[in-house]
């Protein structure tokens, strides 16, 4: 059994590994619910989708993106505008143009349209951005975040500006989010071992070497960037459809910081890193939240921000003591096959 796993070529092995990872996500979601309650579990899964999306770009290319909260936000706004009926729209957005008022569809077409739309936007943005050297890409993705944030606040007839966006039909349930998370994990894991994924990882190790071997780094980055933006947008769709109301502040730098912390704490080299990071940060935050509430009850003073302090401390600890993250840089299946390979050699 073990030998058969190692004999698989990378892509089927990645698929097998991703299914194991997906199974872990599903089990964690089921086990987590009685411990933390449905809302926490679903929000953690939404963070998981967004973080896995971020990892598709950042883990493979080695370029950190600060812009994925923007795609998360666009996904939330666009899908809400597509799924709301005319009545709720007129209530919330009296100045909405007529063509947008008439749009009304179910979750699935809305999800597909939103993800494709965000993909197209990301592809367009990718043309000027992905030509830049690594660090400048990071800086420019920061610009993407600020530009999107400005648009959320300024395009009031579509977004209700700085006010809350509410009245989104509750089209997304727990199992929809679980399904999306599974798809995101599988896509991300398989992409990592696809041709483009391998090219990107080669360029991360040695940019010049990869280019000399015929890898079109700019193009590979653009593909990963587009795909990862689409996954982040799917997370946004789930976010809006599950919570039914949200604020533009959910898509600012703090959101980006949450995704990055989760990815980096878990391990910014692998898909399993993103998964582990989300669960680690969620677990620590929940523990501290409960601790804070107990303390508040006993000391009768207000303690806010304890979970965020915990997350920041965890990030700091990982940076100092274990830079590759909790899960390290190998995927589950890679770890297994590494362990069996020397044995094969002796046989």
């Amino acid at each position: 059994m073990r030998d058969r796993l190692t004999e698989l070529s990378p892509l089927p092995r990645a698929l097998a590994g991703s299914l194991a990872l997906a199974a872990f996500v599903v089990v964690a979601a089921i086990v987590g619910e009685p411990l933390a309650g449905e809302t926490i579990v679903v929000l953690a899964l939404i963070n998981l989708i967004a973080t896995v999306g971020l990892s598709v770009f950042s883990s493979n290319s080695g370029v950190m993106s600060f812009g994925h909260a923007a795609f998360f936000g666009v996904g939330a706004y666009v899908s809400s505008l597509l799924t709301m009926d005319a009545f709720s729209k007129e209530l919330l957005l009296p100045n909405l143009p007529g063509w947008a008022v008439d749009l009304h569809m179910g979750l699935l077409p809305a999800l597909v349209i939103t993800v494709l739309l965000v993909g197209a936007v990301a592809l367009l943005i990718g043309f000027p951005l992905m030509r830049l050297p690594s660090l400048s890409v990071s800086i420019a993705t920061f610009g993407v975040l600020i530009i999107a944030g400005t648009v959320f606040f300024a395009a009031t007839q579509f977004t209700n500006g700085s006010g809350a966006f509410y009245g989104v039909p509750p089209t997304v349930g727990k199992w929809t989010v679980v399904a999306l998370a599974v798809i995101a994990v599988v896509v991300a894991r398989v992409f990592r071992d696809s041709v483009v994924g391998l090219q990107l990882r080669a360029s991360k190790e040695d940019d010049f070497g990869a280019r000399a071997s015929g890898v079109r780094v700019t193009r590979a980055r653009r593909v990963a960037w587009t795909l990862s933006a689409m996954i982040a947008a799917a997370a946004g769709v789930a976010y809006a459809g599950y919570l039914t109301a949200f604020s533009p502040r959910a898509f600012n730098f703090d959101a980006t910081f949450v995704f990055i912390t989760m990815l980096v704490v878990g391990g910014r080299e692998s898909t399993i890193g993103a998964v582990v990071g989300v669960f680690a940060i969620t677990a620590v935050s929940q523990l501290l939240e409960n601790l804070g509430q107990t303390l508040e009850g006993q000391l009768s003073l207000e303690i806010v921000g304890l979970p965020q302090i915990g997350a920041a401390l965890l990030l700091l600890a990982v940076m100092i003591f274990r830079r590759e993250g909790i899960a390290g840089s190998l995927e589950l299946d890679e770890r297994l096959s590494r362990r069996t390979r020397p044995r094969e050699a002796t046989q």
Binding site: P128, L132, P133, A312, L315, L316
Partner: protein, 293 residues
């Protein structure tokens, strides 16, 4: 006349931005450290000013005290947070600084106050001078003169003092500088001290303009500093100062000439300009590639 007013506004805003960028760029220059916690040094300075002014310390003493506290905070940050990761990949350093910045802000939020507090400053600082039909705010004027003072003494410090020369050498080639008998810890501490001092000055200029302090007050300045340093070319001090003025120019021009309908999109347009500049000069105006050095 309007053009002249815009020019004056851009120049005085640019002064503040250049100081921010300079304080930020010093650490990039020597340690490849993009220090996001620079904003929190400003916040710490701001709270020091709040505490001193409410306890009745005269303003002449507040200024040096704020700078001293910011310098101390910067040195503490180096000792506790950045020394364990010194020499790591720039992205590791950046993430560390993210964590530290978040940590300081949250600690202030939890243990001091999440609300904005007003700082009482001398009335002179809220006045503005009129030259014919042109107006210049006193804080802006002060920030411009402070910037000019720093911009004039800084090259002298870097070229003529022992510490300054060691810092420049360290920016060129840190290992070789150490082989020449320069103490690494001393150079790094000097860089952090300079950065902290500039953050302290920025803090005073910032509260002179907005009049309040809160735990998040460092968030916007650090973005400006980061952008200016990036556009100027990460690692180039002259470029950072120059880009500070350029950023202010873009911002003021957009502010003055944007028609009402698009005015809300101002910061988006600023960023579009910045990305265009980056596409034209991928390493910034006077920059080099950090990741490859």
């Amino acid at each position: 006349v309007q053009v002249l007013q815009v020019a004056i506004d851009a120049l005085s805003l640019g002064g503040t931005y250049a100081l921010l960028a300079l304080g930020f760029a010093v650490l990039v220059n020597i340690l490849n450290l993009i220090n996001w916690a620079h904003g929190e040094l400003i916040t710490v300075g701001g709270y020091t000013a709040l505490w001193l002014t409410t306890s009745g310390v005269p303003f002449v003493w507040v200024v040096p005290a704020v700078i001293a506290v910011s310098v101390t905070a910067a040195l503490l940050l180096e000792r506790l947070g950045f020394r364990p990761v010194r020499g790591a990949h720039p992205m590791t350093l950046l993430l560390t600084s993210f964590a530290l910045s978040q940590l300081i802000r949250l600690v202030l939020q939890v243990f001091v106050s999440a609300q904005s507090k007003a700082v009482r400053l001398p009335d002179v600082l809220s006045e503005s001078l009129a030259l014919g039909s042109l107006r210049v705010g006193v804080p802006q004027l002060l920030s411009l003169s402070a910037t000019l003072a720093v911009l004039l003494t800084f090259p002298w410090f870097l070229r003529r003092t022992r510490t300054g020369i060691a810092m420049r050498a360290a920016a060129e080639d840190f290992p070789v500088t150490r082989l020449m008998g320069v103490r690494a810890n001393r150079v790094v501490a000097a860089a952090f001290a300079v950065s902290g001092a500039l953050a302290g000055i920025s803090a005073i200029l910032l509260i002179a303009q907005r009049g309040t302090v809160n735990p998040g007050m460092g968030a916007d300045p650090v973005i400006i500093a980061f952008v200016a340093a990036a556009i100027g070319g990460l690692g180039s001090l002259g470029g950072a100062a120059m880009a500070g003025f350029l950023y202010a120019l873009i911002e003021t021009v957009l502010q003055a000439y944007l028609p009402g309908g698009v005015a809300a999109y101002q910061s988006a347009l600023v960023w579009v300009c910045l990305i265009v500049i980056l596409s034209w000069r991928p390493y910034g105006l006077l920059g080099r590639d950090l990741a490859r050095v």
